[in-house]
Symmetry: C2
Subunit: 109 residues, 2 copies
């Protein structure tokens, strides 16, 4: 007979958030799981930047950056403002910085 997990399962189940929450958590981290997006967020760490400046910094296409900024914006990780033809992006809150900092800690522990 395979061994029994009833006790631990009941205990853990009681502490697990709803499936939907865990799904949302995964979706959020998925966004951090791409080097280009990490670079963009890091670039915005101190100051806002326009799209073409980010593209130049990362040596990538304006289109590629724009696509990624859309993803970041949809997740509320960046915000933007328009000034004439130019659109400036910035981090939308401090969670971005703390999440990246925690990841960095894990890597360099």
């Amino acid at each position: 007979m395979p061994h029994n997990h009833e006790a631990i399962l009941n205990h853990v189940k009681a502490d697990m958030p709803a499936d939907e929450v865990l799904q949302d958590l995964g979706d959020l981290f998925k966004i951090f799981g791409d080097t280009t997006r990490i670079k963009i967020m890091y670039a915005l760490h101190e100051d806002e930047m326009c799209v073409c400046a980010i593209a130049e910094l990362l040596n990538m296409t304006q289109s590629a950056i724009s696509h990624q900024l859309k993803v970041l914006k949809a997740a509320n990780l960046v915000a933007s403002r328009r000034d004439g033809k130019t659109i400036y992006y910035r981090l939308s809150d401090d969670h971005v910085k703390s999440i990246i900092a925690q990841g960095y800690d894990h890597l360099t522990e």
Copy 2:
């Protein structure tokens, strides 16, 4: 003439970590970017569990769980110990908890 970014680019470049670090950061978060792995880490939040208990908890194949545990272990996010035929997995450090907690904060702010 397109507008000039020299000043901001020089400033930001000075603050950017090496490409390799940013790549590693992305790779780390990529691991958090999957619901199954998030669930596994959450399940191990309080106590160690054996592979088949995790599989039963998540209602998934033993094989699928084993594959994911391998990924988590390679990233130093979980550790394991053997007790007879059974192998128990646990979180390997507290960064896992804090990273998940930060993500949770962002979602529920």
